[in-house]
């Protein structure tokens, strides 16, 4: 019989049977995340299912991240309910302000090679960077996992994404991801897995890979999984005491499609409003005025993202008049690192609004909301109309460096121009 993809191998192990793309199975879940956006409904469903004891509280974790801190009494009550349930059932809970659940799953070593790690939030695909099968589920699924520790899954076909070469200076992982989404389309990987491979991986650090895995869902992908290598192991060093088994694809594994991306040839990219797959080279959108710049989210809110943005902002002499710069670290650990190394102080002196670590403005549930007619450029993952809480604003998606260049110029610009001191 033919070889298996990474996804087929992980899910075969979790189902306890040898399965291939198209098979339907029930899998044991290694870890499930519930957020304040999805857990309250899951708790209703758990009660309605007749749930009394949670199946395995060690495999569950809750994050108060979508409403951090709670912007109104209703969401504050949702938080109270989650705190109380977590305490009485022995489930770990990340408080409002600790950060985005996906980032915390990764930082705390809860997503390991070969594991099935799910989150009741679409960006659970992020965990694929660690050679886990990471995918988004709903509140019903979370309730079922609380009942029995398992979930139903259709084994996906896989698209092989081969990365070759190396990124040029001032081109970033977000540019790879946007180019990939532009190529595949917003539904190009629907019901399918993305499996990354190729010599280009050698130059991508774990934080780089998280960006690619995170954005897999914007092409409809069920996951975005990387093989494990030295970088994976070194990231996990000191984060976990659990043993794990890295999973590699078999030779002869079957792929439904193969896409090659040569990193040498990439230039900065931007997704235009209001579709994630409306991707063009940034030069085509250059000089579009922006009034708000958003640095943050589970896509672009990690330490290196802020360092890349900071470098451009420093080189460009700070934020242009008329631009609001909003900074939302993905976690408290990220915030503390930026505070220690001086980056945060620089952002503050440049006039940035610093928002509590969490999902922040990304989905318009708390944080800074753009006004009517405002163009936003953001390190986030979605630019749907109204996504940030106002359907009369427009959202452009780009790398942290490109967002910073726009903050400097007050208009979309290539970060290379700002870094090299080119005049406008």
């Amino acid at each position: 019989m033919d070889g298996k993809t990474i996804s087929e191998k992980i899910l075969s192990a979790k189902a306890g049977v040898d399965v291939r793309a198209g098979d339907l199975v029930v899998c044991r879940v290694d870890c499930a995340l519930g957020t304040d956006g999805s857990t309250p409904m899951a708790l209703d469903y758990f009660d309605a299912m007749g749930g009394k004891e949670v199946h395995d509280p060690d495999r569950l974790v809750f994050a108060l991240d979508h409403y951090a801190p709670a912007p109104n009494a209703k969401t504050a009550q949702l938080h109270q309910r989650m705190r109380s349930f977590a305490a009485s059932h022995g489930i770990s809970l990340w408080e409002a302000g600790e950060g985005i659940g996906h980032q915390l799953i990764v930082e705390s070593g809860r997503a390991l090679p070969g594991q099935l790690v799910v989150g009741a939030d679409s960006h659970a695909v992020t965990y694929g960077a660690l050679n886990s099968f990471g995918t988004g589920i709903g509140s019903s699924d979370l309730a079922a996992i609380m009942m029995c520790g398992r979930m139903w899954l259709r084994i996906p076909q896989s698209i092989k994404i081969t990365l070759t070469g190396r990124l040029r200076e001032n081109v970033y992982p977000k540019d790879i991801a946007l180019a990939m989404i532009g190529e595949l389309g917003a539904d190009g990987a629907a019901y399918q897995a993305l499996e990354f491979c190729g010599t280009g991986l050698e130059s991508l650090d774990l934080e780089d890979r998280l960006v690619l895995s995170n954005l897999a869902v914007e092409a409809g992908g069920k996951n975005g999984v990387f093989p494990a290598d030295e970088k994976t192991l070194s990231y996990l060093q000191g984060r976990t005491s659990h043993s794990f088994e890295p999973v590699f694809p078999d030779s002869g594994a079957q792929y439904c499609r193969e896409v090659e991306i040569n990193l040498n040839r990439l230039s900065p990219q931007v997704a235009l409003p209001h579709h994630v797959d409306r991707v063009v080279p940034l030069s085509e959108a250059a000089r579009t005025p922006v009034q708000m710049v958003y640095l943050g989210t589970c896509t672009g809110g990690r330490v290196q993202d802020f360092h890349q943005a900071h470098q451009v902002l420093k080189a460009g002499g700070g934020v242009a008049r008329g631009v609001q710069l909003v900074v939302t670290p993905a976690s408290r650990t990220v915030l503390e690192t930026l505070a220690r190394d001086g980056t945060l102080a620089d952002f503050i002196s440049m006039g940035a609004v610093v928002v509590t670590p969490g999902c922040g403005s990304c989905c318009g549930t708390c944080g800074a909301i753009p006004g009517d007619g405002v163009n936003v450029i953001s390190t986030a993952n979605r630019n749907f109309k109204g996504r940030m809480g106002n359907s009369n604003s427009a959202i452009y998606l780009a790398s942290p460096a490109s967002c910073a260049a726009a903050a400097v110029r007050g208009a979309i610009a290539d970060p290379q121009e700002v870094l090299s001191g080119a005049t406008r």
Binding site: G37, M41, A120, C148, D187, R382, K385
Partner: protein
């Protein structure tokens, strides 16, 4: 599989209707009650939609229906409005899952032959292999739709994952 027949009036949407367009995240912040959320259904793309829903209406859409956030209120708000099925060229996987898990029927087929206001019947026999048919009663067109695999069918026929678990206490496969 028991025979199934759902009939209703087609309400048309295009490609790429994401969950924020179905129900915005900021409405969810105020309430999770489907009877409240139904008042804001599709407000971003068709502000007049919510007030014009008749019980039994069916949503007919293009590709990638329900993309974006995995929030399940995008399914329960539709059910709350009395809509029992969504017919689309394709769904995002999380919407498809959430639909099955709540007893909303997701039907995958070519939707080009359906116009707004057409009277539509979704029909399956008790032969699972025969799959599902979407019949446009206004034009007579018969469209073949994908069949639901067994476990999804079991969950759907139970009325969703909650009644399924109340009955079985675990997955049966």
């Amino acid at each position: 599989m028991t025979a199934l027949r759902i009939e209703g009036r087609a309400r048309i949407f295009g490609d790429g209707i994401n969950t924020d367009y179905i129900i915005t995240s900021r409405r969810k912040r105020e309430s999770l009650d489907p009877q409240i959320l139904r008042q804001y259904l599709f407000e971003e793309v068709d502000p007049a939609f919510a007030s014009s829903i008749q019980a039994g209406d069916l949503i007919v859409a293009g590709k990638n229906f329900g993309c974006g956030s995995a929030m399940e209120v995008a399914v329960t708000a539709v059910l709350g409005a009395g809509i029992r099925a969504v017919i689309a060229r394709s769904f995002s996987r999380t919407y498809y899952r959430n639909a099955i898990n709540n007893g909303l029927l997701p039907v995958v087929c070519d939707t080009n032959q359906i116009q707004g206001g057409d009277q539509i019947a979704i029909h399956s026999t008790d032969q699972q292999e025969a799959g599902m048919q979407v019949i446009n009663l206004s034009t007579g067109a018969v469209i073949v739709a994908e069949a639901l695999p067994q476990i999804m069918l079991d969950i759907f026929e139970s009325g969703g994952l909650v009644p399924y678990f109340r009955r079985h206490g675990d997955f049966r496969l």
